[in-house]
Symmetry: C2
Subunit: 438 residues, 2 copies
C-alpha cells in the first residue's frame, strides 16, 4: 500500500504536488541540459537530456543494485566496478540511447565520467554513469562531452524535479517520493515505463538522503527494500539491460533511529515502484495481486508475477471484463509448470473483495459479475479511445488516482506471502511499441 492514497484532477495539480515533494536533502545538487544530435544508426536527428547529480563532498556511503539481464549495458559494467571505489561524488545520466553491446561502449562511458569528474574536480572513478533509451544505437560521445559544461553550470541545490524530468523516456510523468525523518530526508526519483520486470533492481532509480548510514548497512538495507518493492513489479515481463537503483547518503544528518530509516526507505521504494507501474506504457489499470498461504515467499511472488504477466487476463482487465477463467488458467499454468506438486484443492480467490473461487470450483453468479465489472471500471485510470488514424495514446500525463484492481489468492498451503504489482495489456501499449518506431 502506498503511504497515501493520492488523487489528482489535473496535470497542474500533480505538478504542484511533485514540486512540494522535491526539496533536495542537504549536500546534493542537480543540473540538466538538453541538446539535439544525429544518431549514427538513424536517418534523422534526435534529442537527449543529460542529468547530473552531485554531492558537495564525495561520500563513502552509497549503494547500488543492477539488472540481472545477461547483456548488461556498459554503464552497468562500469557501475559494478564503482561499488568497490572509496567514494561516490556524482551520477551522470543520459536518456534516448542506452549504451548496450555497442562497440567501445565501456570506453565511451568512462570518457564521459572522466569529463564530468574534471568539471567537478573529483576522481573519474567516483562518477556513476547511467544510460537509458534505444538498445542497439551508439552513444553520441562528442555531443555528450560538449553538453556536460552546461549541465554542470545549471547545478542547483533547491529541487530534484529537474532530474526527475531529465531522466525519463516514454514515462507519462516524472516520479518523486520522499520521507522526512529525524531532521533529514530521503528523496527518490524513478524512470521507467516499459521493459519493466526488474530482477534485482528497476530501470533507473536514484534515492538521495542526508541521513548518515555507513556504506555496509546502506547496502543491506537497499537490498531488503528492493526485494519488497522493485522486485515485485512487472509491466510487460521484459527485464531491461540497464536497470539501476542507487542510494546515496551525504551523511550530513546523524541517524538517531536506523529501524525508522529502513522503514522509510522501504516505503519510498514501494511508492516509487508502484508509480513506475502506474505510469507504465499503456497501463490503464494497475493490478495489485496479494498471494498468501504459499509454501514460501518465493512461490507467492512467482505466482503473483505469473498472474500479472498473463496476456489474456491482462487484456480482459483492459476491457473491464472480469474473466475469472483466465485468472485461474494463469494460476494453473504456473503451478503446473513450476510447482506441480502443490495442492490447489483449498485455493480461494477474490477480486475486489468478492469471492470468485473456493474449494476447487468457481463461485459465480450474475450479481457478482455486475459488482466485478464495477470494481474494474472503478480502477481504470482513463478511458481508451483511438485518434482517427487508429493510434491510441493516453489522454492524461498525470495519475488521476491510485486505485488498483485488487486480487487476493489464498493457497492455504503455508505462510508465504507477497504483493505484486502489474498492469493491463492495452491498445495504448501496442500503439506505443508498434505504431511508432522507438
Amino acid at each position: 500500500m502506498p503511504s497515501t492514497q493520492l488523487t489528482f484532477s489535473s496535470r497542474d495539480a500533480h505538478r504542484t504536488w511533485l514540486a512540494s515533494q522535491a526539496s533536495l536533502p542537504a549536500g546534493f545538487r542537480v543540473g540538466t541540459t538538453r541538446f539535439e544530435f544525429m544518431p549514427r544508426e538513424a536517418p534523422k536527428p534526435a534529442k537527449m537530456t543529460l542529468t547530473l547529480i552531485t554531492l558537495d563532498q564525495p561520500t563513502p556511503d552509497f549503494a547500488a543494485m543492477f539488472t540481472r539481464n545477461a547483456f548488461p549495458g556498459a554503464p552497468i559494467i562500469v557501475g559494478r566496478k564503482r561499488l568497490d571505489e572509496p567514494a561516490l561524488g556524482a551520477i551522470i545520466v543520459n536518456n534516448k540511447i542506452s549504451n548496450v553491446c555497442a562497440p567501445g561502449g565501456v570506453e565511451a562511458s568512462e570518457q564521459i565520467c572522466a569529463k564530468a569528474a574534471a568539471l567537478l574536480g573529483i576522481a573519474p572513478t567516483s562518477v556513476l554513469p547511467s544510460s537509458t533509451g534505444v538498445i542497439g544505437w551508439t552513444l553520441p560521445v562528442d555531443a555528450i562531452l560538449n553538453g556536460l559544461p552546461a549541465a554542470a553550470a545549471s547545478l542547483t541545490a533547491s529541487s530534484i524535479l529537474p532530474a526527475a524530468e531529465g531522466i525519463v523516456t516514454t514515462d507519462l510523468y516524472p516520479k518523486i517520493r520522499r520521507a522526512d525523518l529525524g531532521g533529514g530526508s530521503i528523496v527518490g526519483i524513478a524512470k521507467g515505463a516499459g521493459m519493466i520486470e526488474p530482477n534485482l533492481a528497476t530501470m533507473l532509480v536514484y534515492i538521495l538522503t542526508d541521513i548518515a548510514i555507513p556504506r555496509a548497512e546502506l547496502r543491506t538495507m537497499l537490498a531488503r527494500a528492493v526485494d519488497v518493492s522493485f522486485n515485485t513489479i512487472s509491466i510487460d515481463s521484459d527485464t531491461s539491460t540497464s536497470d539501476t537503483v542507487a542510494l546515496v547518503s551525504s551523511s550530513k544528518v546523524p541517524c538517531s533511529d536506523k529501524a525508522a530509516f529502513e522503514k522509510a526507505l522501504t516505503q519510498v521504494c514501494r511508492d516509487l515502484a508502484e508509480d513506475v507501474v502506474r505510469n507504465g506504457e499503456g497501463v490503464r489499470h494497475v493490478i495489485r495481486v496479494n498471494v498468501k498461504g504459499a509454501p514460501s515467499r518465493e512461490i507467492s511472488r512467482a505466482l503473483g508475477k505469473a498472474i500479472v504477466n498473463a496476456p489474456l487476463f491482462k487484456c480482459a482487465v483492459a476491457g473491464n471484463d472480469p474473466n475469472v477463467g483466465r485468472l485461474v488458467q494463469a494460476i494453473g499454468k504456473h503451478v503446473g509448470a513450476h510447482a506441480p506438486g502443490l495442492d490447489l484443492s483449498r485455493l480461494s480467490a477474490r477480486i475486489g473483495g468478492i469471492e470468485i473461487f473456493a474449494n476447487g470450483a468457481f463461485r459465480l453468479d450474475p450479481t457478482k459479475e455486475t459488482a466485478l465489472v464495477a470494481h474494474l471500471k472503478g480502477a481504470e485510470l482513463y478511458a481508451s479511445a483511438p485518434t482517427k488514424d487508429g493510434v491510441f495514446a493516453p489522454p492524461v500525463d498525470f495519475p488521476p488516482h491510485e486505485r488498483c484492481v485488487e486480487i487476493e489468492v489464498d493457497l492455504a498451503n503455508g505462510a508465504g506471502e507477497c504483493t505484486v504489482f502489474g498492469g493491463d495489456l492495452t491498445h495504448e501499449y501496442v500503439s506505443e511499441n508498434a505504431d511508432y518506431r522507438s
Copy 2:
C-alpha cells in the same frame, strides 16, 4: 518447415484446398450439430457445436496427451482415465464452454459420454470427451444430451471438414493436414487460436489414421512428435486448461514401414502446430526462431520461447520495426534469469538471413535496416486497420501465405538446437481479448 509452402489468394481457394485434404481414413465417421442454449452465468443465449468422431469398430490403438495446467478441465480428468481402457470408440467435442473447475463437471462429462455411447452401441468408457471455450461457465448438459442424436444422425465417412469446422472457437479458419502413405493415410485437425503455449500438448488436436500401429508404439510416437511440434509453439504464453492431442488408428491398413509412419505423423503435427500459430488470435506475423549451439535442446527451446514471448519484441515485429535491441534484451533476460553461467560472448544472431549481432556487439547499418524492414513486411499476413469504432479485426479468414519472420540465434556453446514458432503482439490481439467479452 512445412511440407509445402502454400499461398492462397482467397477464402474460396483456401476452402477448396482444405476439401482436397479432407478425405477420412478408412474406418472413421464424423458428424456435427449446432444449437442455441442459455448459459447459466450469462445474460443472453449462446450457440454451441457438438462434434462426434466415431470408429466403425472400437480400437485398442489410440494415444492422447493432455495439458499440464494444474487446473485441468473435467474432460482432461476423464480423458486421462480413458487411456487405461481397452478400446476407444468415439470422441465427443463441444465448443463455446470449456468444462473447467465447474461444480459437477466430471459428472457432466461422464453423462455426455454415456448418452453418446448408448446412441452408438458402445461402452461409455470408450468415449473420449473434450470441451473448449469460456472457462468459468457451466456446461449445458441437457442441451447437449438433446443435441447428441442429431450429431449421430449426421455421421458421414466422406470428409473430416465438418469436424474441423465444428471444433473451432476464435480460430480464423479450420485446419486440416494429411499424409498419404502405404495405401493408408494420417489426417489431423486442430483447434486453437489463443491461450496457446502448450505444455505437453495443444488446444484440441485429433489425428486419425487407418494404418495399423499397436497402442504402445502409437503412444511413444505421439509423444516424440508432440515434443517437436505442439511443444515448440506459443501464441501468448498462456497454457490452456483443456489442451488435448489424440491419435487414433482404425488399424484397417497394415503398416509396412513404421519409420515412414512416424516421419509422416511428425510432419502432420508440425504442419498443424504451425497452422495453429498462423491462425492465432491477432497474429499478423508468424515468427520462426531457430536457436542452435546451445548446451542442450531444452535450453534452446526455452530461449526460443523467451524470444517469441517477449512483449516488446512482439510489438516491434507487429510494427515491421526491426528493433534488434529488444531481441537482445529478451535473450539476456532469459539467460540472466535461467542460465546465468552461460557464456554469451560468441553469440551471433540473424534476422531474415542478415547478421545483426556477433561477438558481443551489434552489427548494424542503415542498409541492413532497410533490408530488415523489407523482410518483416514480406512476412506480414495482412495490413492492420481499425474499423471506425476503433476495433481491430483480421480482414482475412484464410492464410494468404506461409512466410515467417526468420530469426537465427547461434550460442556457439554446444549441439542443442530447436525451432520455435510464435506470433507478434497486435491491436487485433487486444481487440479480440479486451474489446469484446468472450
